[in-house]
């Protein structure tokens, strides 16, 4: 049925086409392609399956999706950069509103709501991280960290970056790729039993060429880096900037890095109301003080509040637009484009819903649940519930070395128990041998954790 008008293409109607061609003054649509040289015209039909109707499509895609097992069917202990948290239904309602879903880059007039929602997002996250400036979201934590470090380099006029070796390996790859060849990276050791930054090594490596120190808190390995103030002190002594990556969901109970001296804070919004979406929920943020020199180094859009000609109206617009690559191309600060605005709006909704008390209770519930898990794990033969001795937030390393089993084996068996076991660390952190990074949050009930314990008990004792 080659000529059936497709529901998505109204002007396929032959009579309408006719009319329009007449206005244009050409005999056929292909005429309009005459600018493309004959030899570049695709001769064959594309080898793509024939069109499906909506119903067929639905059955086809749902058939494929049904081959997946989701983290709400099984019990999931995977984290490591993408975390399962409670998503309030209002978050989904708002980000599924077709106005927000299909808007793009409108002006402050017809998209007033988008501007306000993003300004509010900036403002809410600013409270969480206790800083005065937050950007319109960027891609993800890794990219936000890379940009933060590039900003630091521009701000200090230096090129050397010191990274904690506990930075998430995936993020490290992003940071290095975004940073090179402009920046030089060096890695600071950590204490194997606590995970904490090796202050001696830090002091040995820092110099007056250091642009910034970067660490994460809570770290990739879950522990809380408690030396924030000391690290900041070292940075300050060397006139380097301190950049800290943070899981914002911890900030109801953990001190925000600004309070222990961070100059730039970055992290991922995914925990704040985004479903995991096989990693489609990531979104990065960057926060700084409200100082001109910082603002001028942001590549991102920054929405500011302004009056309109009518009393009482709030308006919004782009602050210091002329620094962006939209305005200046390669002379702008790095680059900007489509990023993750809808997740920013959603994170704003999330923070509005939870408020100060919700964020506190949430942090508390996560810590209680994860501590409970570790306590129970410690009772299992050959299992160390937490390999590290430092306090942790929601993630922790389970050490299976003494069970004689590999993480791979354990995870396969857990799968039979409808459990997604934690991330195998044996490649990324071979120093911990057969260990795995587990994540426990507020979504885990006592029963869920107990089911893990019983299943592991079975596995390690058989």
């Amino acid at each position: 049925m080659k000529n059936k008008v497709h529901p998505y293409i109204p002007n396929m109607v032959p009579e309408v086409k006719e009319d329009m061609l007449k206005e244009i003054g050409v005999p056929s649509v292909m005429e309009l392609y005459s600018c493309i040289p004959e030899e570049l015209h695709l001769k064959n039909e594309m080898n793509i399956p024939k069109a499906l109707t909506e119903y067929e499509l639905r059955r086809h895609i749902e058939g494929l999706l049904n081959k997946n097992v989701s983290a709400d069917e099984y019990i999931n202990f995977l984290g490591a950069g993408c975390w399962q948290h409670f998503v309030p239904a209002v978050c989904d309602e708002v980000n599924q509103r077709s106005e927000f879903l299909t808007a793009y880059a409108g002006e402050p007039y017809e998209d007033h709501g988008r501007y306000q929602a993003l300004f509010e997002y900036q403002s809410l996250l600013a409270e969480l991280v206790d800083m005065d400036v937050v950007n319109v979201p960027t891609f993800d934590w890794g990219q936000a960290a890379a940009t933060s470090l590039r900003m630091a380099a521009r701000l200090t006029g230096r090129k050397k970056i010191l990274l904690a070796s506990t930075v998430a390996p995936e993020r490290m790859k992003i940071i290095v790729n975004y940073g090179s060849p402009e920046l030089d990276f060096d890695f600071v050791d950590f204490e194997k039993d606590t995970g904490l930054l090796d202050m001696k090594d830090l002091k040995a490596k820092i110099s007056d060429e250091t642009a910034a120190i970067y660490f994460e808190n809570p770290s990739y390995l879950g522990f809380i880096e408690s030396q924030g103030a000391e690290i900041s002190e070292v940075a300050r002594e060397n006139e380097a900037l301190l950049v800290v990556g943070v899981d914002p969901i911890s900030l109801g109970v953990l001190a925000p890095p600004s309070q222990y001296g961070a100059d730039i804070v970055c992290g991922d919004l995914q925990p704040l109301g985004m479903h995991m979406n096989y990693s489609g929920g990531q979104a990065g943020f960057i926060a700084t003080r409200d100082e001109e020199k910082f603002i001028n180094e942001y590549p991102s859009r920054l929405f500011g509040i302004v009056p309109t000609v009518k009393e009482g109206e709030y308006g919004f617009g782009d602050v210091a637009y002329d620094r962006t690559s939209f305005a200046l191309r390669e002379k702008g600060k790095e680059s900007v484009g489509t990023q993750t605005a809808l997740w920013g709006i959603t994170a704003g909704v999330y923070l509005s819903l939870l408020g100060p008390n919700g964020m506190y209770e949430l942090g508390q519930a996560i810590m209680q649940n994860s501590q409970y898990a570790v306590k129970q794990l410690n009772k299992l033969p050959g299992v160390k519930g937490s390999r590290l001795t430092s306090p942790f937030f929601k993630e922790f390393i389970i050490d299976f070395n003494d069970t004689g089993l590999s993480v791979e084996t354990i995870n396969k068996k857990l799968l039979d128990q409808k459990i997604f076991g934690g991330k195998d660390l044996s490649k990324e952190f071979p120093e911990y041998g057969q260990s795995a990074l587990y994540c426990v949050t507020e979504v885990h009930t006592k029963d869920d954790i107990d089911h893990l314990i019983t299943s592991l008990q079975e596995i390690v004792t058989n």
Binding site: I24, N68, N177, S180, Q282, I366
Partner: protein, 523 residues
């Protein structure tokens, strides 16, 4: 009953206006928006209050200064803001040329709300995500057909990131041949998207920007002059922002190749080309498509999105890992790309977008995709014909030859009436229509770029044209009407002064506003 006469040429419109406070102003101490699941009492009994484990100095002393608001009020606030946002579902969204605003099929939105994608963790065992991997793989295969490339990565989460990834590949490629130091220039054109130049610079390249010839074509002589042993790559869109297709594109890529550079194609917007012509035949080594443009993923206020990155076989090993492959039995993640640039984004990119675009392609089939292209071009040329007849409007450069978009100019109208393209922009919102000026720099003076895509009917286009006509008339008869617009929008004209550009005045957050206007900072 007498017939109700409806004679308006333009829409009698008013946007929703709620005049909502800033969310912090809705604070009422004690209200709660949602209860979160607390720990089981037995858990608390075992471990105590949990937070006492936080090391000295790392405990947050004062709760974050967030507002406390009941659930209904939070919802009401945000749904009102949503109504104050002109999503493309609501309007004839052709005023955002280069952005390929098209119909976002509702079936796809329904599909991505399935928990079997929403609740997948990216590190799940491959056996538990076979369906997801199959979707990614299938899209890869479709993209290969559409582009002629050999492998795709969906990790880049936007066109800009795809451009960055391509610049990274270019660098790595030359590095692998020991030419990284030497080959430090990327050539682009002024009518290509700013991110092409910007991402090349991020990756440490010197950027050489070619200007067009008089007819608006990229200038082959200038290219010849630009290439050298320092050339790392050439990046270009075709058609460029002007909508003009460069018929000598194969010569361009040949020249660059001869100089030892790679050619990468910005196909963010490939809407006029589907099934018509491909990156491979034009000589490109890499290309990317914005799934949120050509392939009908929604723009979501500006992401999350996907820049689907395709490369020829020789460049496969440089792709960001992992990519999805099929071994004849099962789908798997191939991490084994020895020259990989590493990563540009966490895990696998934005899976929802991949699903949506795959669904869109399957809803159209090969014929449908070609119809998309042809109708987009038809629509654009219809608009092009009509707009040139509007007083004060023109379309600089060569006559005809426009594919899916056109960069127009109000230069004449501005000179004759003082009404600028920014004035027109504001006035258009009074008719429920969005209008974007154009990318900087304004090489075309008083520019505007329209791209009607295949999604709009002739009636839709005629409505848009009527609004432009009316504004032109107003400009010539009573320019203040246009200059003081909007009137029917959510808000009135911004009183910008230097509120956005002066450090003492700009307020990027509510707390900054509170400080700068001397209000108590804590709510």
């Amino acid at each position: 009953m007498e017939r109700i006469q409806r004679k308006n040429k333009v829409r009698d419109f008013h946007q929703a206006k709620w005049n909502e406070p800033i969310i912090f102003e809705l604070h009422q101490k004690g209200e709660r928006g949602v209860d979160i699941p607390l720990s089981d009492q037995a858990v608390a009994a075992e471990v105590g209050n949990g937070v006492s484990a936080i090391p000295e100095g790392m405990l947050r002393k004062e709760k974050p200064n967030l507002p406390e608001i009941g659930q209904a009020r939070v919802l009401r606030h945000y749904v009102r803001l949503s109504q104050e946002t002109l999503g493309s579902d609501f309007n004839v969204e052709i005023g955002q040329g280069t952005c390929t605003m098209k119909y976002i099929p509702k079936i796809n939105e329904l599909l991505v709300r399935n928990p079997k994608i929403m609740e997948l963790h990216p590190l799940q065992d491959e056996s538990t995500v076979q369906g997801m991997l199959e979707i990614i793989y299938n899209l890869d295969v479709c993209m290969r057909e559409i582009s002629g490339m050999d492998h795709f990565s969906f990790q880049p989460s936007g066109g800009t990131q795809a451009l960055f990834a391509m610049a990274s590949i270019a660098r790595k490629y030359h590095e692998s041949r020991g030419e990284a130091e030497q080959r430090n220039e990327i050539i682009t054109t002024i009518f290509s998207h700013p991110s092409q130049a910007a991402t090349a610079a991020v990756k440490g390249f010197k950027v050489i920007t070619l200007h067009p010839d008089e007819e608006g074509f990229p200038d082959i002589e200038k290219l010849k002059a630009a290439v050298s042993e320092r050339t790392a790559g050439f990046v270009v869109a075709n058609p460029e922002d002007t909508g003009i297709y460069n018929p000598r594109i194969k010569e361009f890529t040949d020249i660059v190749h001869q100089a030892g550079g790679l050619c990468y194609y910005d196909q963010a917007n490939a809407n006029g080309l589907l099934g018509i012509t491909r990156a491979r035949e034009a000589g490109f080594d890499m290309c990317f498509f914005n799934l949120h443009k050509t392939f009908a993923a929604p723009h979501m206020c500006g992401g999350p999105a996907t820049g689907a990155l395709g490369v020829v076989e020789e460049l496969k090993e440089f792709l960001p890992a992992p990519i999805v492959e099929f071994d004849g039995e099962k789908y798997y993640l191939n991490e084994d790309l020895p020259q990989s640039i590493g990563k540009v984004r966490a895990f696998h990119g934005v899976a929802q977008t991949v699903l949506r675009s795959y669904a869109w392609i399957r809803a159209l089939g090969p014929d449908g995709l070609k119809e998309v292209a042809q109708t987009a071009v038809l629509n654009n040329n219809y608009l092009y014909s009509k707009i040139q007849k509007i007083r004060g409007a023109s379309a600089p450069y060569v006559k005809g030859q426009r594919l899916e978009q056109v960069r127009y100019s109000w230069e004449q109208m501005a000179q004759e009436t003082g009404v600028t393209t920014e004035d027109v922009q504001r006035r258009m919102t009074d008719f429920g229509l969005h209008y974007w000026t154009s990318h900087h720099p304004y090489i075309v003076p008083q520019p505007f770029t329209l791209e009607p895509t295949e999604s709009y009917s002739k009636a839709d286009l005629d409505e848009y044209i009527a609004a432009l006509e009316q504004i032109s008339e107003e400009a010539y008869e009573n320019p203040e009407i246009v200059q003081d617009a909007p009137y029917n929008s959510t808000i009135h004209k911004l009183d910008e002064q230097d509120f956005l550009d002066h450090p003492e005045k700009w307020c990027i957050t509510w707390r900054a506003y509170q400080k700068k206007t001397k209000q108590p900072e804590r709510i």
